[in-house]
């Protein structure tokens, strides 16, 4: 034994004794005694790129991934790395065989050569990967395996359980599986446990796919639309952004059952699960929409409304038959639905904002109608009289109850619904997380919707009862009674609005006397009425999506999704901007209007917008007193 060898033995024993390597360690060469240091690395000759040689020791010691049982020299050439300083190392070939050694069992040889063969039969051939790597700027260096385009060090995905819950079964296994029955319980537990779920989260997978599928150069070369973007616009994509693992990720649709990702085919290939002839069955697989109709596949999983985004880039010689082209075609109807709502929002919300702003402007410049003071005194006189006060109650108890029910359900719907609409925003993830995750959020949203619809039914019942009372008192036909309901818009309301606009634009000095409810209020009421119906129907269709797809085309789901989201946005704008500004922040009512607490309206407001209602109240009070 020469001196060098003796030194080596002592060094090895020294290192082993100081690093206290566990008995299952896959680092018999003790590479980690140096490579565990994070600073082990250097800046390359270009002065920019960093070569880091740090390897996480926990990966081996805690059996964090399927490669934890491998020695460094299973992948790295022994003759190059067992000498210090190391020789220039050749890139690792992922298809080479490695030795799997289990204590007490014969050595097994294992390799990924089979995967390379699979890839050659898939859409991601070596040639495609090579082209992508070139177009991405050679992130995978010369000689390195193209596996690295999608993979890095594989790590077992831990569950969300507490660590102690994860360790308990391991220690239970370890009761028997020690030196007597040698197997690494931690590794085996995680190997099985982790494999019961996909190896990566949907977000990680989307990121891996987006590297090429959202890259302009790659898309250009292969004539691909931005499938990541269109995925994110669909419900699946939004759910993924909000951290859901139950939703469909890329592989759930693009990898067939009992297959693996390395066998992925283009959509045009009949063997592909996304081929039009198989897509319905792919959606209806037992893990997803098992009870749905075949038409469910027509729902847009890749939804892109913008016509320019649907236009295909010029195909080049490298193009394959475009697999995803068809997925974003045929969304013209959906686009027109979106256009309809843009117009609707512009022509409903727009005028409301203009009127509100002009009303506020009157306060800023200190402008009132010439008879404002007189009307205000009339209102104050009436409000001081119990009979007058009764006559000026604009909202009855029933109406106030309906309002607060609507307030509660609407607020819940906004809090639980808009994080889903704006799933790409960080605040949305925080809100969903605060609410207990996407599943809880959706459940809350649906039941709040049910409650709102119940409130709507209550309102319809209230109207019917009110109309019945009116009909009995006046003996007028039902239609007349309906049209005379206080919240129904009439021709004179429009005339009054036109006059008001002239007044607010400083073209007229007076306002026309307003009745119990202004046109703006009637308009808001109409919006809520229409919104409840529309949101209720579309929400129910989406909730019962499997039932829907059994009887209707899957595109109905996409259209319902669009209507639901745009109508909700319109409702939020109206309530969140116009209504809230008018009943909370407007100077006459700040900090909050009392109308929905007591049914009263402030004298200023009555003098400005409800002088016709003051006349009616005065007449009613006079009649009461006359009778008395």
């Amino acid at each position: 034994m020469n001196r060098n060898v003796r030194c080596s033995i002592i060094l090895a024993l020294g290192i082993v004794s100081t690093t206290t390597t566990p008995s299952w360690s896959a680092d018999p060469e003790n590479c980690l005694s140096c490579h565990r240091y994070r600073g082990l690395g250097r800046i390359a000759d270009d002065g920019k790129t960093i070569a880091t040689y740090h390897v996480d020791p926990n990966y081996d010691d805690r059996a964090l991934g399927p490669h934890a049982r491998l020695r460094c020299t299973d992948c790295h050439e022994r003759s190059e790395v067992t000498v210090v300083p190391h020789h220039s190392t050749r890139p690792v070939d992922c298809t080479q065989s490695c030795h799997l050694v289990e204590p007490g069992r014969p050595e097994m040889r294992f390799g990924h050569a089979r995967i390379a063969e699979m890839l050659e039969g898939s859409v991601h051939t070596q040639e495609v990967l090579e082209t992508c790597n070139r177009l991405l700027g050679h992130p995978v260096g010369p000689g390195q395996s193209f596996c690295l385009l999608c993979h890095d060090e594989p790590v077992f995905r831990k569950s969300d359980e507490r660590r102690v819950d994860q360790e308990t079964p391991v220690s239970r296994c370890a009761v028997c599986h020690d030196e007597q029955l040698p197997v690494n319980p931690r590794y085996m537990y995680w190997h099985v446990h982790a494999r019961s779920r996909p190896a990566r989260s949907h977000a990680e997978l989307t990121r891996a796919c987006a590297m090429c599928h959202s890259n302009e150069a790659v898309r250009e070369a292969y004539g691909l639309p931005d499938t990541t973007a269109s995925y994110l616009l669909s419900f699946h994509g939004k759910a993924m952004l909000l951290g859901s693992e139950e939703t469909a990720g890329c592989l759930d649709c693009h990898v067939g059952q009992l297959q693996n990702v390395h066998l992925m085919q283009a959509r045009t290939d009949p063997a592909s699960p996304t081929h039009p002839t198989r897509l319905g069955d792919s959606c209806r697989n037992s893990a997803c929409h098992a009870a749905a109709g075949e038409a469910v596949s027509a729902a847009a999983v890749h939804l892109e409304l913008t016509p320019s985004a649907r236009r295909e880039p010029a195909t080049t010689a490298t193009s394959q038959p475009n697999a995803d082209r068809a997925s974003t075609e045929g969304t013209r109807v959906e686009f027109y639905v979106a256009i309809f709502f843009v117009v609707l929002i512009l022509f409903t919300f727009g005028p409301s904002v203009v009127l509100l702003s002009l009303e506020l402007l009157q306060v800023v410049v200190g402008r009132h109608g010439p008879e404002h003071v007189r009307h205000r005194q009339r209102a104050e006189t009436l409000l001081a009289d119990p009979a007058g006060r009764r006559a000026l109650v604009r909202f009855t108890l029933h109406q106030r109850i309906q309002h607060w029910l609507l307030f509660a359900t609407f607020s819940t719907l906004v809090i639980t619904g808009f994080p889903i609409k704006f799933a790409d925003q960080s605040w949305a993830r925080d809100v969903v997380s605060f609410l207990g995750g996407l599943t809880v959020t959706r459940r809350l949203h649906r039941w709040a919707g049910v409650l709102m619809l119940a409130g709507f039914v209550y309102h319809l019942g209230y109207i019917t009862w009110f109309m019945w009372k009116q009909r009995r008192a006046t003996r007028r036909p039902w239609l007349r009674v309906l049209l005379d309901l206080p919240m129904v818009m009439r021709g004179r309301d429009w005339k009054q609005l036109w006059h008001l606009l002239g007044h607010l634009l400083f073209l007229r000095t007076t306002r026309l006397p307003g009745g119990r409810f202004s046109l703006q209020e009637k308009f808001e009421y109409f919006g809520v009425f229409w919104g409840c119906i529309l949101l209720g129907i579309t929400g129910s269709l989406l909730w019962a999506n499997e039932w829907t797809s059994r009887y209707l085309s899957g595109r109905v789901l996409t259209i319902a999704f669009l209507i639901h989201t745009f109508e909700a946005f319109l409702a939020l704008l109206h309530v969140g901007v116009v209504h809230v500004a008018a009943v909370i922040f407007a100077p006459g009512v700040f900090p909050v209007s009392r109308a929905m607490w007591t049914g009263d309206t402030p004298a200023d407001k009555l003098a400005d917008a409800h002088t016709g209602w003051l006349d009616e109240a005065e007449q009613a009070v006079a009649a009461t007193k006359g009778d008395a």
């Binding site: 090895a12 100081t18 800046i43 960093i50 740090h54 390195q144 890095d152 990680e204 892109e304 306060v363």
Partner: protein, 344 residues
């Protein structure tokens, strides 16, 4: 909408102004919110969907920009996957030293050693926990006074909690065996400090809970403490949130450095300042063996709080031999005696 109340004229005037300003602000908020909403609406229909950056951000390489952007001890590398082409997971960068003038001014990188191929990575390994002067100061020889300074505050601190706890567990075997309740609070306190120092770790946090919630001396407690003793050496990765530095205060080089950076490139003045700044710096110190091989070594590792086993390993003959051969440019073959049969 608002009518002035019958109040003194001056108060009424102020109130009117306030009400109008308030109303104006509400009006502006309404207009701005509406404009933003409508702009979003148009964008969502007429412009292509934008994929959020976090789904598109992928690092093609590790480079000095990302290294310099490192701004905290617990900062994890983003995005979560390793840079494409780099196989091994990079969970977080090594801890930055905000008080190292050599790197913070931009002259030297946080991984400063680039020239000598055979030692540069080893030297960089030390750069995360040794101040530059500890090796590169021309005025020192033999054993020197050193202490730990925090890389966060730049001030002197006690031995890093990780080393203290390792030391405690190694040297207090009897106490652990016979008087566990006595050492229990120390272990907890130091373990908490270790976790904070390394920026959090779920395994150590779990051990902390197990030790904290079990009776000192009970089988659960003993098992957890034994596990802790085997786990801790894995965390000696040069991340202590502290560095070993000379006790002698460094020369104030702020003003010459400022002038150096302001001077024109390649100007004689710049060159002169460069020489002046580096007048007491050895570019190729022979520090490896002075720390690992000399007797007594330059650094008193035991006094710095290193546990005995670490001190013995760092000063052992094989380590010295490895260093000596590496410096001399001779290959040092790693032993294979502990590898399985097939590997020999």
């Amino acid at each position: 909408m608002n009518q002035p109340s019958p109040v003194p004229r001056s108060r009424s005037w102020v109130r009117t102004i306030l009400v109008r300003l308030y109303t104006l602000s509400i009006m502006l908020i309404v207009v701005w919110t509406s404009y933003t909403a409508v702009a979003y609406l148009f964008g969502s229909v007429f412009t292509p969907t934008v994929v959020p950056p976090e789904l598109l951000t992928w690092a093609g390489e590790l480079n000095t920009d990302t290294l310099r952007a490192n701004d905290g001890t617990t900062r994890r590398v983003q995005p979560p996957r390793a840079p494409v082409g780099h196989y091994h997971g990079v969970d977080r960068w090594f801890q930055p030293d905000r008080h190292n003038n050599c790197t913070t001014v931009g002259c030297h990188e946080p991984l400063p050693h680039t020239k000598r191929k055979e030692v540069r990575a080893f030297a960089n390994l030390h750069a995360t926990f040794l101040d530059c002067r500890t090796c590169h100061d021309a005025n020192i020889s033999g054993p020197v006074g050193v202490h730990w300074i925090s890389t966060v505050t730049g001030r002197e601190q006690e031995t890093p909690a990780l080393l203290r706890l390792m030391n405690e567990l190694e040297t207090a075997g009897d106490t652990i065996q016979n008087a566990p309740a006595e050492i229990h609070p120390t272990i907890l306190e130091q373990l908490r400090a270790v976790i904070v120092g390394i920026g959090g770790d779920s395994a150590l946090e779990n051990l902390l809970v197990r030790i904290d919630t079990s009776q000192p001396g009970s089988p659960v407690w003993r098992q957890a403490v034994a596990r802790l003793e085997t786990e801790l050496p894995n965390y000696t990765r040069g991340d202590y949130s502290a560095k070993i530095a000379l006790r002698a205060p460094p020369e104030d080089l702020n003003e010459p450095t400022r002038r150096y950076l302001a001077a024109a490139p390649d100007s004689p003045e710049r060159e002169k300042l460069n020489q002046s700044i580096h007048k007491s710096v050895i570019s190729r110190p022979d520090a490896c063996l002075t720390c690992h091989g000399d007797d007594p070594p330059r650094l008193d590792l035991a006094a710095l709080g290193y546990p005995p086993s670490q001190v013995a390993a760092l000063l052992s003959a094989p380590t010295v031999r490895l260093i000596q051969r590496t410096i001399e440019g001779e290959p040092f073959y790693l032993p294979r005696i502990l590898e399985p049969d097939d590997a020999r």
